[in-house]
Structures are given as structure tokens and as C-alpha cells.
């Protein structure tokens, strides 16, 4: 995961991970890897979302220049 994922990509990956965990067909060490990755992605998404919310608030409060 050298390149940073976009929010969209992270969410997509999370969906895939959750699907895999739900099916629970992979070996356990793979499960742990998926779990670790998923947890990281949730935290990353959460952080990004907070950033978005903050940015919207900032932009919304800006006056349109005359």
C-alpha cells in the first residue's frame, strides 16, 4: 500500500474486506491481515471524513468576494 488510497477506494476496499470476513473462508492468518487492513482503513476513512466536514464548514463560512 505504497500509494495512498482515495476515500472512494478505501471504502471500496473496506466493502471487499467485510465481505471476505463475513464469508470467513480464508486461512486465519489471512483473516488477521484483512482485519488489520480493515481497521486501518476505517480509521483512515474516519479521519478523511472529519477533514471533509471541517473543509465544508470552512468553505461555507467564507463570504463570496464582491
Amino acid at each position: 500500500m505504497a500509494t495512498k488510497k482515495t476515500f472512494e477506494q478505501s471504502m471500496e476496499r473496506l466493502n471487499i474486506i467485510v465481505d471476505l470476513l463475513e464469508k470467513n473462508e480464508q486461512p486465519l492468518d489471512e483473516t488477521i491481515k484483512l482485519f488489520e487492513e480493515g481497521l486501518g482503513l476505517v480509521q483512515e476513512c474516519d479521519k478523511q471524513l472529519k477533514g471533509f466536514e471541517k473543509k465544508i464548514d470552512e468553505l461555507a463560512s467564507k463570504k463570496v468576494e464582491e
Binding site: L28, F35, V42, D46, E53, I56, V64
Partner: protein, 445 residues
């Protein structure tokens, strides 16, 4: 007679007020021929307007007369712009003239209609060919006369409505012989300037004044122009050929500019609304994503990851349980197998034993049988040998007989032997190798 009697002045005054108030009789255009023209020293013009059937007296006060480009003379056919009223002193109906011009337009009207028909039939007015006017033009071309009211109207309208746009201006003649050629050239330049929309405007005037805008070459140039063109030539009532061929016709120069531009106040208001909507949309988008993320956050594994392993543990337990069952059943199978093999073994050994006994009895029986037979045969053989012994040539040889043989076998006749043959003579204890010297046959045998 109970009817009221009125004074003449009252009646005339009443008539005058009636006529003055009738809008259909004010600011009207009347055509006719001039007669009895008088230019009074006060500056006022007095004359009679007549046609084949009627006549009316007219007055044009010096204030209007002094501004007229046309100076009337008896016999001229003219068009007047006038108000109708009553001259109270004489009680006479009169036209108060505010404008006058020669009625020479008949020809031009016919030309106009002919050109319009021709261009229409050739498809130059086709609605499908008209270009769309851009909503937010940032570069507006303006072709009009230098220092004209029309130009001022456009410039001030643009400043009020849409000052953000660049104005590219080309001034041309807008009247007279050279005007249309100049306008054609200007349109060509505007195409190179890459303006978003082009305004071609001129203030009001007579049909002669506006005649440059009824030019066929100009109409075709506008038709082929790649920039959308809005025309605003003259006032509402004036229509020229370029109005038909242009992409949009405005009633006035101001109107042309209004059509070409959005009102900045509207745009600002709209922007504010869009901004609100945008923020709202953004927030709801983020809220939606927030819900998604929270869904993940609240998933069992992320809250208590142990469940991931628990499931495995359960699976392991299940499998080991199964294994136990399997090993138990295999043990059972083994015991069964051992039992079966035991049974098999004992069965087999019993059978073997039985078969062994049988074999033994049979062998004994065979043995006995064979021995008996052997004995019998042996005895038979002994007697045979005995007999054979009695007949044996060896015994004969013992008694002095011999056996003579040559290379062909035993000789029983002298005929089988030639003189000089080598003969073997067998005696009981050896052989003699002899040579025949002489042969003597014994007859009678």
C-alpha cells in the same frame, strides 16, 4: 320644448374636448397632397391636405416646422404626423402637424417586400439555421454608428446588467450607400476577434435611413456568420431584412443588449442559491459516507475482534469432535476386523485339518493300493525275467553257439557273406574279428 339650449362656444368647446381626448385621433399618420401652402412670417406653416374626395386644413407651428428637413410646396404628396383638434375661433376641424415628409417610400416598400420574399424562399430565414445565444457571454461584439444614441444605450445597458463581459466595438456608417459594405467588413473582423455574441444595432429612422440594413449581401453575410448575431435596428415598428436573417431580433438597441446578457443581480442571486444547495448537498454526501464508515466501525469484528478467532475456535472444536467420533468408529472397525480375521483363521485351520485328514486317508489308501499293485507287478516281472533268461541268446552262447555278423548286421546265411568280408563272431566271453577265406554252401536245407 324642454330641451336645454347651449351657446355655440359651449358646443365647440365640448367638441374640441371630445376630439382631444380620443386617442385614435392623436399622433396619427395621414397622407395627402399639399395645397394653399403659406409660410407665415411668424414661422408657422399653414396649408390644406387633400385627396380626390376630401380636404382638411393644417397648421404646423414654427417649433416643429423649424426642425423639418423637408420644405413643403403645393402639389407634393406627403405623410404628416399630427394631432386632430378644433380651432375654436372658427369652429373648424384642423390637423396640428408635428412632422412631415415626402411620401416617396412606395418604391422602397416594394423592393423590401421583393427581397424579403426572395431570401425567404432561398431559406435565409430558416429557424433551424439560427444559432443559439450564449447565456453568459464574456466577450460581446458591438457594431454600430460612432457616437450614436444606440451605442450609448448598449454601453449603459451592458454596464448595468453584465459589466464583467469585454466589449469589442467596431464603429461603422449605419446609413447611406457605404454602410452595408462597412458592416460586412466589421462582421468579418468580429469573427476573428472570437466574440461570443455580436450585436448589430442602430437607432430609429425612416425607411430610407434604415435602408442599409435591407442589403442582400449583408443579409447573406449575417446568415453565414459563425457568431450568433442579435439585431436591434430602429424602434419596435421598424423591421429590416437583417432582423429576419439574424439569429435573434430585438426591438431596440437596448433590447438587443438585454437579450444578449444576463442581469448580474439575477446571476448573483442564483449563485447564492446554488451555493446553499451545494453546501447542503456536500453535507448530506458527507453524512451519507459517515453512516457508511460508522457501519464499518460498528461491525462485530472491529469492536471485538475476538469473534473472528472464536469462530475459528468453534470450528476447531467441531472438527476435533468429529475426529474423535471418527477415531472411535475406526477402533470399533478394527476390533470387528480382528474378530473376523480370527474367525476366518479358525475356520481355515479347521478346514485344513479336515482336508489333511482326508488327504492322509487317501494317501494311505493309495499307498496300500500302489504297494499291492507293485508287489503284483514285481512278481509278474520276476517270472518274466526268469522266462526271458531261459530264452536269452547269452545262455545259448554259453552252450557253445556263436553269433556271426558283418557290417550289415547278423548273418544267418552264407549268401549274406562274400569271400574277403570281415566278420565279427560273438562268443560268450568276447568277440573274434575274422576274414572269410572260402564259402561252402550246404544244400538240402
Amino acid at each position: 320644448m324642454s330641451q336645454a339650449v347651449v351657446k355655440v362656444s359651449t358646443l365647440v368647446s365640448y367638441l374640441k374636448s371630445k376630439i382631444d381626448q380620443d386617442n385614435y385621433l392623436q399622433r396619427i399618420l395621414v397622407s395627402g397632397e399639399i395645397s394653399n401652402f403659406v409660410h407665415h412670417r411668424s414661422g408657422h406653416w399653414y396649408f390644406t391636405l387633400k385627396d380626390e374626395a376630401s380636404r382638411l386644413s393644417c397648421v404646423m407651428f414654427s417649433s416643429s416646422a423649424s426642425r423639418s428637413k423637408y420644405y413643403p410646396k403645393d402639389g407634393d404628396k406627403v405623410i404628416l404626423q399630427a394631432n386632430t383638434s378644433v380651432f375654436e375661433s372658427s369652429g373648424q376641424l384642423q390637423l396640428y402637424v408635428t412632422g412631415i415628409k415626402l411620401d416617396g417610400i412606395g418604391d422602397l416598400h416594394i423592393q423590401f417586400e421583393l427581397l424579403k420574399k426572395k431570401l425567404f424562399e432561398e431559406g435565409y430565414f430558416d429557424e433551424n439555421h439560427k444559432l443559439e445565444i450564449p447565456k453568459y457571454p464574456m466577450r460581446i461584439g458591438l457594431i454600430t454608428g460612432k457616437n450614436t444614441a444606440a451605442r450609448e444605450d448598449v454601453v449603459s445597458t451592458l454596464a448595468r446588467r453584465w459589466p464583467i463581459a469585454d466589449l469589442v466595438e467596431i464603429n461603422t456608417l449605419v446609413q447611406g450607400e457605404a454602410a452595408s459594405a462597412q458592416i460586412i467588413q466589421a462582421i468579418g473582423k468580429m469573427e476573428k476577434e472570437e466574440v461570443d455574441v455580436l450585436l448589430l444595432v442602430r437607432g430609429g429612422g425612416s425607411i430610407e435611413d434604415l435602408w442599409a440594413f435591407n442589403d442582400e449581401a449583408l443579409a447573406k453575410c449575417i446568415y453565414h456568420c459563425t457568431i450568433p448575431i442579435i439585431t436591434g435596428v430602429g424602434h419596435e415598428i421598424d423591421t429590416t431584412i437583417v432582423d429576419y436573417v439574424s439569429d435573434l431580433r430585438a426591438p431596440t438597441p437596448t433590447g438587443a443588449c438585454e437579450i444578449a446578457t444576463p442581469d448580474q443581480e439575477d446571476v448573483k442571486q442564483n449563485l447564492a442559491l446554488l451555493k446553499q444547495a451545494l453546501i447542503k448537498q456536500c453535507r448530506s454526501d458527507v453524512e451519507f459516507e459517515r453512516a457508511q464508515v460508522n457501519r464499518f466501525k460498528n461491525m462485530t469484528w472491529f469492536i471485538s475482534p475476538g469473534t473472528l478467532v472464536d469462530q475459528r475456535k468453534m470450528k476447531l472444536d467441531y472438527i476435533s469432535n468429529r475426529l474423535q467420533i471418527v477415531s472411535y468408529s475406526s477402533q470399533k472397525k478394527r476390533i470387528e476386523l480382528e474378530q473376523v480375521s480370527q474367525n476366518f483363521k479358525s475356520l481355515v485351520s479347521k478346514k485344513l485339518h479336515q482336508v489333511g485328514l482326508e488327504v492322509q486317508t487317501k494317501a494311505q489308501f493309495i499307498n496300500q493300493n500302489v504297494m499291492q499293485r507293485f508287489d503284483r507287478e514285481n512278481k509278474k516281472l520276476g517270472s518274466m525275467i526268469h522266462l526271458l533268461d531261459a530264452y536269452s541268446p547269452l545262455n545259448v552262447l554259453k552252450r557253445g553257439y556263436s553269433i556271426t555278423s558283418n557290417s550289415k548286421g547278423i548273418c544267418t546265411s552264407v549268401k549274406q557273406v562274400q569271400v574277403g568280408d570281415e566278420l565279427t563272431v560273438r562268443l560268450t566271453d568276447g568277440e573274434l574279428i575274422t576274414k572269410v577265406n572260402r564259402k561252402e554252401s550246404r544244400h538240402g536245407n
